[in-house]
């Protein structure tokens, strides 16, 4: 017991000696030295605070930008949205096309803007019909800002009274003779675009065979079961759904295909739009596309057309009045001669 006590005592003395030695090595600062240390410490803390705060603030914009780019890049989200928008134009705007290669995108903070020009074939030339600018907040589009350069643009808000191609069982909202008069009073040596409504539903190839020569069928309006009423089940007006009648040689056009017919591409596009209907409905003029029921109708009844867009020399287009399958005609755009 006594040995153990002595051992503790020795350890304690040893520790005390070491501590005293350490204390002797510490030299107290003078008053000026202490002030200097405090000043250096304050300055260092201030400098560190400023630099770290600045770094965090400067990181905000790059991090937000990078996050947005990654959002649109991962899984090809931006390309998919562009694809839906451009294909919506092809199937909802009669005789309108675009150059997908020239679609411009601009990525902002959690948003994207796309801009592109649209074209109409009148005669043998593609004329710029205007441009679209669509803003996306993440994947939700706003209504497109359109700047159309057309003389007779289609109404922005479609209704029964402004429809240019009508179903055989629907009432024609314009005076047919007035339109034929317009066409007859246009000078020869011009080319024009006309919207025709048929007397009956026809297969596309039958319509092609019934047309006179020296004109070009540009776009076919397809019967989707809703064209008689021209509104969806909820009473919201709809616009025609259709597809280009010709092979489109424009780079990246969905209708530039050798393996599929335009009808098959049209059905593929409708399937794509059905899955992205909210985007398509914002881009299309009609605020309801009812694609699920219209696609089901087309799959059940096949592709039958009730209207079409035709372009060609004005004097040739006058011959359409003698085509018994054509019920009504409405004149669209007119341009100077470019047919040859």
């Amino acid at each position: 017991m006594s040995d153990e006590k002595n051992h503790f005592e020795e350890d304690y003395q040893k520790y005390l000696k070491e501590s005293l030695n350490e204390v002797n090595e510490i030299h107290p600062y003078s008053k000026e030295g202490q002030t200097e240390i405090v000043t250096i410490g304050k300055n260092m803390a201030r400098k560190t605070n400023i630099m770290i705060s600045l770094a965090i603030l400067l990181l905000i914009v790059p991090v937000m930008t990078l996050t947005t780019y990654m959002y649109y890049a991962i899984g090809g989200r931006a390309d998919h949205l562009i694809d839906v928008v451009t294909k919506t134009i092809y199937v909802t705007e009669p005789n309108m096309s675009l150059e997908k290669l020239n679609v411009e995108d601009d990525i902002g903070f959690f948003s994207m803007n796309i801009q592109f020009d649209v074209f109409k074939r009148i005669g043998k030339e593609d004329y710029k019909a205007g441009n679209y600018s669509i803003d996306f907040l993440l994947n939700q589009p706003s209504f497109p800002k359109k700047n159309l350069l057309l003389d007779r643009p289609l109404p922005e808000i479609p209704s029964k009274e402004t429809e240019v191609m009508v179903h055989p069982k629907a009432r024609i909202p314009f005076i047919e003779t007035d339109e034929w008069d317009k066409l007859s009073k246009l000078p020869d040596g011009t080319v024009a675009e006309v919207y025709v409504s048929l007397n009956k539903l026809m297969k596309p190839e039958d319509l092609i065979n019934s047309l006179p020569e020296n004109m070009e069928l540009r776009w076919l309006a397809v019967d989707t079961g809703m064209e008689v009423t021209q509104e969806d089940d909820g009473g919201v007006p709809i616009t025609p759904l259709g597809y280009p009648a010709q092979y489109d040689s424009t780079t990246w056009s969905p209708f530039k295909t050798d393996t599929e017919s335009n009808e098959e591409v049209f059905l593929d596009i409708l399937s794509l739009l059905e899955k992205n209907e909210s985007v398509a409905e914002k881009v299309a003029r009609a605020k309801s596309l009812s694609l699920d029921s219209r696609l089901a109708y087309i799959k059940e009844h096949g592709i039958k057309v009730y209207g079409a867009v035709i372009t060609g020399p004005t004097e040739e287009l006058r011959k359409l009045q003698n085509v018994k399958e054509i019920r009504a005609m409405k004149v669209g755009e007119v341009k100077l001669w470019n047919w040859e």
């Binding site: 090595e25 030299h27 107290p28 400067l58 780019y69 890049a73 931006a78």
Partner: protein, 102 residues
């Protein structure tokens, strides 16, 4: 208790010069990048997203090799420079995958 100096200890609270330079360069590069992003410059100035971050990266690495000084600035400088280099890489990759045109 009064302030004193332990001869065995060093000046541990002061950062390394190269660490400070690395942090400073990273801040300058970040500021340049912010300006380029906010004015929507189509072509990013390479000096802010490549040259300066690489310089800052090496200075930051040098700043880490110290026993007696603080590595705080070196770590910040190094981290920011690595972020800037990764940012550049990811932006190039994502830009190419959005609406790519040959």
């Amino acid at each position: 208790m009064e302030l004193g100096i332990n001869k065995k200890g060093g000046n541990r609270h002061l950062p390394t010069i190269s660490g400070f330079l690395s942090f400073l360069i990273a801040l300058i590069a970040l500021a340049g990048l912010n300006v380029a992003l906010l004015i929507k410059e189509k072509v990013f100035p390479g000096v802010f997203i490549v040259q300066l971050p690489i310089l800052g990266f090496f200075l930051g690495v040098i700043g880490l090799f110290t026993r007696s000084r603080s590595r705080l600035y070196a770590i910040w400088g190094l981290s920011l420079c690595i972020f800037l280099l990764i940012f550049t890489l990811l932006m190039v990759v994502s830009s190419l995958s959005i609406n790519y045109k040959p």
